[in-house]
Amino acid sequence: MDWSALSVSLRLAAFTCLILIPIAIWLGRALAYARFRGKGLCEAFVALPLVLPPTVLGFYLLISFGRDSPVGSFWANLTGGGLNFTFTGILLASLIANLPFAVQPIQRAFEHVPHNLREAAWCSGLSAWQTLLRIELPLVWPGILSAAALTFAHTLGEFGVILMVGGAINGETRTLAIAIYDRVQAFDEQGAAQMSALLLLVSFITLGLVYGLAGRRRWVRG
């Protein structure tokens, strides 16, 4: 059992969720409510990581994280370090790769909030912020939960993008999924089996917890 790989995986998944969910709430809400030209383009861009082969996404990220590229050089100027083959690098890659998993459930949830509920809240004297906190967020909560679950589980299982951007540096970028691959390559089937079983268990528990919680809302219709 590669404990450091487990730790990298869990840290990566947790940080991805923490950073991505607030962004996804903002972006999903904007996409659900706003009517603007190029909205379809915007949605297509968000959904792209769903269909793009991870290696393609990883390749482009690898290129743009390099010190010769604007993103890479900006980061180097800011921190003095590089992005490729670092934990920050794979975190950034993970944020981009998970964008559709986080945004889409939240966007769907906001779309299902009847428009006149917001208006009723305004007429009841609630400001836009209070409306978001007291009316909208409680109503889209299941969407946020499933977004978090999907993002968490998907990050644990992400392989191609992480491998391209991060390689397999022990304790830094070698996640559980990559460690399993390494074990198989080294003919250590028992180690691979242990870690696979662990990943399966963690993923299942995460999803089960979230769907179980989401199903317990009393006011749900039907």
């Binding site: 208006e119 809240a121 305004w122 007429c123 004297g125 006011w219």
Partner: protein, 392 residues
Amino acid sequence: MGWPGAGGGYVADSRITWPIEGLGVAVHQTGPIPLAAEFVCQPGELLALVGPSGSGKTTLLRTIAGLYRPQSGRVECAGDSWFDGERKHSLSPQRRQVGMVFQDYALFPHLTALENIQLPLRHLPQPQRRELAEQWLAKVRLEGLGKRYPNALSGGQRQRVALARALARDPKVLLLDEPFSAVDQVTRRRLQRELALLRQQIEIPIVLVTHDLEEATALADQICVLHNGVSLQQASPEVLFSRPDTPLVARLLDRHNLFEGSVVELEGQRRLQWGACILEVDEGLANLPLGETVTWYLPPSDIVLHRRDRPSQGERENPLAATVEELVVLGGITSVSLRVQHGDMLRFDIATHAVRRNQLTRGAVVNVSLLAAGIHLLPGHRVRADAHDKRK
């Protein structure tokens, strides 16, 4: 009517004299929804906005609430300016203090009935909030149901929670958007009765949007008739049904007795010639030139059917013979259509038992009187000229 478009100067031909004690609305815009509407509603008064679907009723209600911002116009309530297109001034819905009951009630599904009513009371300390909400719950007769979520309430109960939530905020105006359309007939009657009772306790303008004329007539002090975003006439139901401003208003109110006649003189008196009939008219004929073709309207209640066995009151007033063309029995009421000699059709409703008593049958010839006081002249209008009404 010649409203200027966006920009201002609209008040030039406004019929409203500002400032208004209650609620005053004047809205003008060329698109996307064309609007040219004006109406007033005094404190304690219930104003019904009626008109076919697409006539802009709900848009006007949303304009009052601040949920819709028209190009130009003016909304004032209790001396405060809520919207002024000229000054580019518009208060947010939060600051207008309106009580709004939405068509599908828009209750917050994740809050209990009591929490729904408490939400507008957030400016008060919690114990007081709860107490007030409980009081409102009792006022709409929902004691004991405060812990229920909206999905566990019936349609009528939801409507009451919505009404309580709207009133809990101590609003300056109460807005009701088709509040009775989503419940069954029995519940509707009961809720209408309760609204009529509740009204006596609140001294604010109430604006009701409805397409149900019967409902408007039963509940409203004033009715404003809308058509394609234009307010055609505002008056009390009695005035509206007996003295519509235009043939279009009469038709939108489902009134049919619109005819054309010409002004004639008989023995030194002005009379209205209608086919072969010469009719006496109480008001309005004197100012019209001889020979002028004029459209006139008669409320069905001013058509008196003569009894066969004995003469009825007013028999001498504009008597004429007509043939029964159609009898449509709708329960206790029968809709009667009479064809007059020259082809026009008189329509009125009478009790079904009166039809039996008078032995009215299709093809029978009956005598009726058209009461002179009821004949309402509409000079300058043609019966069909503004018939761009899309209803049948």
